[in-house]
């Protein structure tokens, strides 16, 4: 009943989404091996070996794995699949890219974005933007599962697993990496931040977004999020989008500024511990999920809040 967990990392360091998905994997079964696929990724593999509960780390390195292109990455996972009954990946952009490819190559169904492990073959997952929760049972000979990491605590350190090198599979050679344009920031990542401050369409421009939201984020040590409307309008980059089709987050404190609270946005943040809403429309649906609401103009409230902290 061994489990293969696909690590999320950037070669240099291991993402804490791996530790969160590990918690889900350990609820499925005790024998969890972690696959670190990359290039120059020894540091990430060593970090995975320190997580408590990891049996063994498999390190596969190759040029075509440096950016985890779906085609060679899936081929690698399939080449290792014989030793495992369950393959688990965090539902990151990389995990969502590769896991269904693996499932189809193994001719099995995938269970996407589980939020709870009911038993080793039964899971809960949200559908319809989180408006319903489905319990699904998979009796497939191999289970392929992605994990909504916001629903699981990170597994702690305290392990000392061995790191074993494995070879990459033959590269299908149909794709190549061109470039990354990644957001550079000293702020915490959205998916691991304790506090998130998010801006919506009400910000009106990229300049205003930066002028009003960012100083407050820096003062709070918070990550910055945005609604789809703010991203579509170019006020914020795509990787800040929170929601059904963006990132799903569950910080201790989520502050929604000038966001109406459409179901697609709520789907990404309604499991936050404490929600604050700032909106000038007292009927805005965001107030229905907010623990604390202030009705008013965010352009006067946010500078005040920054001063009060």
């Amino acid at each position: 009943m061994a489990i293969l967990l696909i690590a999320e990392h950037d070669n240099a360091s291991l993402s804490d989404q791996t530790a969160k998905a590990l918690s889900a994997a350990l609820q499925i079964g005790p024998d969890v091996d972690v696959l670190v696929a990359g290039k120059g990724a020894k540091a990430a593999a060593d970090a995975a070996a320190k997580l408590k509960g990891v049996r063994k780390v498999l390190l596969a390195e190759a040029d075509e794995l440096a950016e985890r292109l779906a085609e060679p990455f899936a081929a690698l996972i399939v080449s290792l699949a014989g030793n495992y009954d369950t393959i688990v990946a965090p539902a990151t952009s990389s995990g969502k890219n590769v896991a269904p490819r693996v499932a189809a190559l193994l001719d099995v169904a995938q269970v996407s974005e589980i939020i709870e492990v009911v038993s080793p073959d039964t899971f809960k997952r949200p559908i319809y933007a989180g408006n319903a929760i489905q319990t699904v049972q998979s009796t497939e000979p191999k289970k392929v599962i992605t994990v909504r990491t916001a629903s699981f605590q990170a597994a702690p350190e305290g392990g000392s697993a061995t790191v074993e090198n494995v070879s990459a599979a033959a590269n299908p050679g149909v794709s190549s990496f061109v470039e990354n344009k990644l957001s550079e920031s000293d702020r915490p990542e959205l998916t691991s931040a304790k506090i998130i401050i998010s801006g919506g369409r009400a910000l009106g421009s990229a300049e205003k977004f930066q002028e009003v939201i960012l100083p407050l984020a820096d003062k709070l040590g918070a990550a910055v999020g945005a609604s789809r409307a703010a991203v579509d309008a170019g006020y914020a980059p795509n990787d800040w989008q929170v929601g059904q089709t963006g990132k799903v987050v569950a910080p201790d404190l989520y502050i929604a500024c000038g966001i109406s609270g459409a179901i697609q946005h709520l789907a990404g943040m309604k499991d936050s511990k404490v929600i604050v809403a700032i909106n000038k429309d007292e009927e805005a649906p965001i107030f229905q999920v907010a623990d604390y609401g202030i009705v008013g103009d965010l352009f006067t409230i946010l500078p005040e809040l920054e001063k009060a902290l």
């Binding site: 896991a99 693996v102 408006n131 299908p172 794709s175």
Partner: protein, 249 residues
Amino acid sequence: MKVLVPVKRVVDANVKVRVKADGSGVELANVKMAMNPFDEIAVEEAIRLKEAGKVTEIVVISIGPQQAQETLRTALAMGADRAILVKVDETVEPLGVAKVLKGVVEAEQPGLVVMGKQAIDDDSNQTGQMLAALLGWAQGTFASKVELDGDKARVTREVDGGLQTVELKLPAIVTTDLRLNEPRYASLPNIMKAKKKPLDEKSPADFGADVAPRLKVVKTEEPGGRKAGVKVGSVAELVDKLKNEAGVL
């Protein structure tokens, strides 16, 4: 080059679905249906590629009940050339859909398949990747830009850290993200014209596809609710509550 665009009929994005009292699923009777929004973006992208002279024919396909015809007619009215309805009344899981699509690809031989990254009903985000796997093709998922150049496609993808560009050998699968384009509305004359465009009806068996479900849905329930809290009158009161009541500052 021919492009294939799979489109799914789903509950309209503006509807808040309700769970049936007996836990057997969600209430779909008398609910407004529409084309999956990501598939509208896929249809739009195919039309733009045709307008740019890179594509000669756009074939749209839906796997679903008779009413999925309406979704196909919408795609035809936007500008697709021809439609295929693979009629199935039961829910088909992403793997089953991918198997039907594989059969259609083998019959139609498109140079590119453009589809949604995610259906907003099952929120699976699987079918495109699965189809790419079954065909042994390259995949460019979560696309915000697609450029065709000879036998290659350059796809910019929305990833967790920002944007990533990959180059794919054609034929390939592209799945759309929200920022790829803004879909057009069909004009009234085009809606009329679409009624005369060809729409073929097929069955999964015509493509040798097994669409039996592999997963068992044990039950469907309402999510844990969250109740509205309090409105505070001032910033000072908010800061006080966050520090002393909620303990999050």
